[in-house]
Symmetry: C2
Subunit: 339 residues, 2 copies
Amino acid sequence: MTRISFDEMKATIKQAFIIAGMPDDKADICARVHTESSRDGVYSHGLNRVERYVDYLGKGWVDPHAEPTLDTNLGAMEVYNGNMGPGILNALFAMNRATEIAEKNGLGLVSLNNTTHWMRGGAYGWLAAEKGFIGICWTNTESCMPAWGATSGGIGNNPFIMAVPRKEGHIVLDMAMSQYSYGKLQVTRLKNQKLPYPGGFDHNGNLSDDPGAIEETRRVLPIGFWKGSGFAILLDIISSLLSGGLTTAAIDKHDKGSCGSCCQVFIAINPLKINTQEFIDKVLNETIAQIKGGVPVKEKGDIYYPGENSLRTRKENTELGIQVDDGVWAKVKELAGKS
Amino acid sequence: MTRISFDEMKATIKQAFIIAGMPDDKADICARVHTESSRDGVYSHGLNRVERYVDYLGKGWVDPHAEPTLDTNLGAMEVYNGNMGPGILNALFAMNRATEIAEKNGLGLVSLNNTTHWMRGGAYGWLAAEKGFIGICWTNTESCMPAWGATSGGIGNNPFIMAVPRKEGHIVLDMAMSQYSYGKLQVTRLKNQKLPYPGGFDHNGNLSDDPGAIEETRRVLPIGFWKGSGFAILLDIISSLLSGGLTTAAIDKHDKGSCGSCCQVFIAINPLKINTQEFIDKVLNETIAQIKGGVPVKEKGDIYYPGENSLRTRKENTELGIQVDDGVWAKVKELAGKS
């Protein structure tokens, strides 16, 4: 495990994207978002995802030149076709546009059809919060999880994000519908460890904390059992109906890689249209005080609010350099022509 | 266990509410919603909740005459003060108003501050769907669940609802943030049964399926462990910021009963502003076909979509009469002066 500076990582990823066919300005933004994800500890969708993204560009599953085009304008709600452009750029555009609508009206909703993988969903929540807006967004995906009651895949592990701006550190929830990602199962198995809590079912149909057993059945656990299964289904249907785009069932048949031609929803709300800053501060501070004032599970243990750990990791990785897996870093340097 | 007809139950509840001080027309609507909840199998917030609601009216924690008043009008978004009126009536008003806004603009958001317990949150999702709208709503509540990392209560078991209209049966997710309600823990304990899946922590800090052990620690499990804890926190903060009303932390100090002076958010979207009915049907049918086409856990077992079981219970209770606990039914008849 090595640590790399933000600027070096970003420049290297950018070069890899340019070699893969992205225009300079677009490669720059995508490289920044990948680097920020690694910096914040979301390694899976940061540096670690660059090789696969370059592969998608090579296969034509992402059009590096495409830009979103307006399908429908309903005032507070706008629908765009993502034209299979870079998912990060489409999503940044959509959340930015939602905040522009909300700046005027208090509330803005922008949906995307025919877009591609947005990488770290939390990025767009942080973006909204950074601009002073409440942000809510989600995406649908291909299926990779059984619906409750089934042993075979059928529903998507659709991420859902809610973000609230706060000067001392934004409050950001970024969660997918499965208890653990396949990446987490793999990493845990390779360390010969058990999961901290059950994460799926084994071949006997029992709840299991053995990552290898769950990888074999592919019966990953939806959060809250039947509840997360239902939530995944509704996020999928609503993202399709709000954008006129493909459902999980249709993405499965589309075969353009993970999230190829998926749908996304971005909601922004301007809290200052309803409240004074003083009231907002009171709401946030009394809530965080109540959470942190609980009796910790471990003596002197910490109780975190959503997003707090990302900020801690961000601080550490900014000061010391961003942690990278040496093999992954070597591969990305190779893609950037630097090996 | 006895079965009572819809009309008899509704008339009895209505009489109890009138005796408790509600005007006839308001008692009629509230009695209908309580009866519909029992009819759909949500007994906890149907007939079983009438006695407690009458108690709240007696204590002045709900003002039976109050109506919502407009605080802020931002076009697609409106904020109302619930004036501590009946939570059911305020919530029906708010979701109906959201659909009126969405009828024009495609999207409507109505929030309520200073409202009271809405009983079954799903009622407002079903309402939106019945009118042909996608509905999303949630409420905050007093705290009754530890935040992740804590052993003491601090966050609310805030229900979250998503509903999509479908001619063959609406698709409705109605979930609270704890894996099981305290009511479910009690019922399971009284039957000397275990929970089907772990529902909280015991005194040793281990995950447990023993309802009594969880009732003792009050460490009920958020859905998805840390994820549901974070989701509860964000639902609370956003409902407060969207309505200018009280947070969970503030409701805890307010002391006007469960959900006294809580905040609620109602979003309605008109899917026909974006799609043809043909496209909508395709989205819904291909998704339900994919879910139901999975390999069931039990041979010949069923895989349900969200809301399907409510419809099955509704059908059965409509045909055979609504199941009631004899003691609860006797008590409500007494409150209605019929004992």
